[in-house]
Amino acid sequence: MKSPRSLRIKPEDVTTVKGLDKLIYKAEEEGVELAWHRFMKQQPQCGFGLLGICCRNCAMGPCRINPFGGEPSRGVCGATADTIVARNLIRMIAAGAAAHSDHARDILYVFRDVAWGRNKAYKITDPEKLKWLAGKLGIKTVGRSIMDVAKDVAAVLEKEFGKQDEEPLALVKALAPRKRLAVWLKAGICPRNIDREIVEIMHRTHMGVDADPVSLIAQGARAALADGWSGSMMATLLSDILFGTPKPVKATANLGVLKEDYVNIIVHGHNPLLSMKIVEAAMSKEMQELARKYGAKGVNVAGMCCTGNEVLMRLGVPIAGSMLMQELAIVTGAVEAIVADYQCIMPALVTVAQCYHTKLITTEKKAKIPGALHIEFDPARADECAREIVRIAIENYQNRVPEKVFIPKEKVELVAGFSVEAILSALGGTLKPLADALRSGVIKGVVGIVGCNNPKVKHTYGHVELTKELIKRDILVVGTGCWAIAAALHGLLTPKAASMAGPGLRKLCAKLGIPPALHMGSCVDCSRMLLLLGMLADELGVDISDLPVAGSAPEWMSEKAVSIGTYFVASGVLVHLGVVPPVLGSEKVTKILTEDLEAIVGARFYVETDPKKAAEYIAEYIEEKRRRLGWPV
């Protein structure tokens, strides 16, 4: 008979994070299935899917193309592998851009309600940033109340989703460097309206519309730019305005941040609207007292994924782990509630939670999971909702089964919160010291690393190896999302980690008191990197594509990552991917992405699954950029 596939995981094969081995063994002993088990059951994965050559866009199909050159070479409608791969790719971009930008929309609505006095649960926490943004958008601030300014800003930002003209997006015009804007206008990829670019992708990829891979990918780039420079940008800017712009903050990471005698709540997902309120409610005297009434010493909140990054950067809330650790958090048996909003919430959490006392609480109308407890989060009643959720978690403490509790001891210290403002302040108020360090060769370049975990890559190995290899070569690393958590878990986000850096970077870190790898936020905060890149290019009087910089997504998996990668390439930054994207079924699309884009936007994608080889390649690329600028290499 077909031999049953072994379903035991060797922890050392799947993760490099300390302490997880014990939890993986515990999960297996207790019959809990994890993402790695399901990944094994999916092997081997569908070849058509891996190559991007199946099309389900109409009911004449599904169609697939023979990748080995034989028949069928076209879909029923006549679409070639080139058309199908390009269509599938930009649908991924559409989904990614939609996720980031819809997240922004949710924050915008709250911001608008705050401006108009309809929402009293939130407030303008950083008026200076609001005024700066208003100034960039050409809105008068002098002599006006901050709420009036906010109303005008909200009015401009809501049009980003719905204006009906061919003009570039307001945030693009306000924040992108002139030289870049000219590149996009020339290429016809300057975004006009966030929702429209996404809708246009869905239209173009409908049966019988756009079949040209070049024009399809151009539209993909346009939607991705709408995401990066407007959707994600808006999410970051408004989060800073409502909750405060992050400043360097010390915290701890890994599942060891869970506390044995406390009610443990994990905030999971992406949007700070919910998580900030949960933390606030949990820390209140009322809730801490209630916890003691139920026999706990208090309430402890820890973050997971990007909403974890949001509360980490702003409040120093400890971060329990990255995407692939969400199930293991429950396996500790010590989590009373996982409170989720949206994105990267595995439906599997319900099944895992059923093996313990943990309650999975979903809060978003857009993101329900069968089997979870759904408590809808209404931002107008934010405090009330948050208190209700925290109360449920506290009441659940009595259901904890002591013999099932195991919290690994491992936890690491970190410094997070390097917003652009925080970086500027560390540099003494201007970018000049960084620009000088780059020009003189004290540091060779800057690389932004982002995104995700993926069981195709040994968990955190891709992120961490690449980071170590780059800092060793005097390349400053900045990043967001699950990279930031991976870097934290391996102690790279501390000033001490500079000892692993090359001599130049080590000197710079010592001078500024910063780590060699900077936590810039959640995945929507990749927008912070765009801003930094734009400012750096302006400071040096060049285009972004001239800078000795690169981007990387060593363990990417989500459609959001495809959008992020594309907006970085379209912004002039080489992007390395550590997981092969589903495009190799078309030689033409592969060539466009990895070669031809260079001539249009000054950057391209580069795929390499070995992080050490990738680091070498990126270092050479940066060297080449430096040579072209006439800088020492």
Binding site: M1, G47, L50, L51, P67, F68, G69, V580, L584, E587
Partner: protein, 184 residues
């Protein structure tokens, strides 16, 4: 040429389970490529060829592969001895000896082997004998997401198939007992 023997292994095909996804075809071509990777195999020259193909016949999807005959006509007619049996009894072609005459194609009862225009050599299923010797499943079997292809020792596979069929018969019997008048 070794004496004709029936291999002790079988790939049993459960036609009712096959969804026609053609994953077996892809996995087969990759298994017979030089690089053994889905990402690079499609670019190889000569192009790797699948040795299994799924046909649609009425309501059924039928994966067609070599049956590895016990007394294989292709082995008997091969003028150079290229077509031969492995120790396990699988019918395979020795490319070094193959002259691409195509006699194997003419005599095959199910139209399996053919001469590849790119290489001038006969192409056929190898039962993935090298993978089997390493303790792995044949590539098509491993790739099948719905277990329509079942690999194993012939006796064991058939034992299970018979047990399954027996339960169908038993159910039919029980159903019949319920709906037919009992013999007085």
């Amino acid at each position: 040429m070794a004496p004709a023997t029936r291999a002790q292994y079988i790939i049993y095909i459960d036609y009712e389970r096959c969804t026609g996804c053609r994953s077996c075809e892809i996995a087969c071509a990759v298994a017979h490529s030089a690089t053994k990777s889905i990402y690079t195999a499609p670019r190889e020259k000569p192009r790797p060829k699948p040795r299994i193909r799924v046909f649609r016949v009425g309501e059924l999807n039928v994966p067609m592969r070599c049956l590895h005959c016990a007394n294989a006509p292709c082995v008997r007619v091969c003028p150079t001895g290229a077509m031969h049996y492995t120790d396990e009894g699988f019918v395979v072609v020795d490319e070094a000896k193959c002259i691409g005459c195509g006699l194997c194609t003419l005599v095959c009862p199910i139209g399996h082997p053919y001469v590849d225009p790119e290489t001038g050599k006969a192409v056929k299923c190898t039962f993935c004998y090298k993978r089997i010797r390493e303790g792995k499943l044949p590539a098509c079997v491993e790739a099948c997401p719905v277990d329509a292809l079942i690999f194993g020792k012939t006796s064991e596979v058939l034992e299970e198939v018979r047990a399954r069929k027996a339960s169908v018969l038993a159910q039919a019997y029980l159903l019949g007992r319920d709906i037919l008048p009992s013999p007085a």
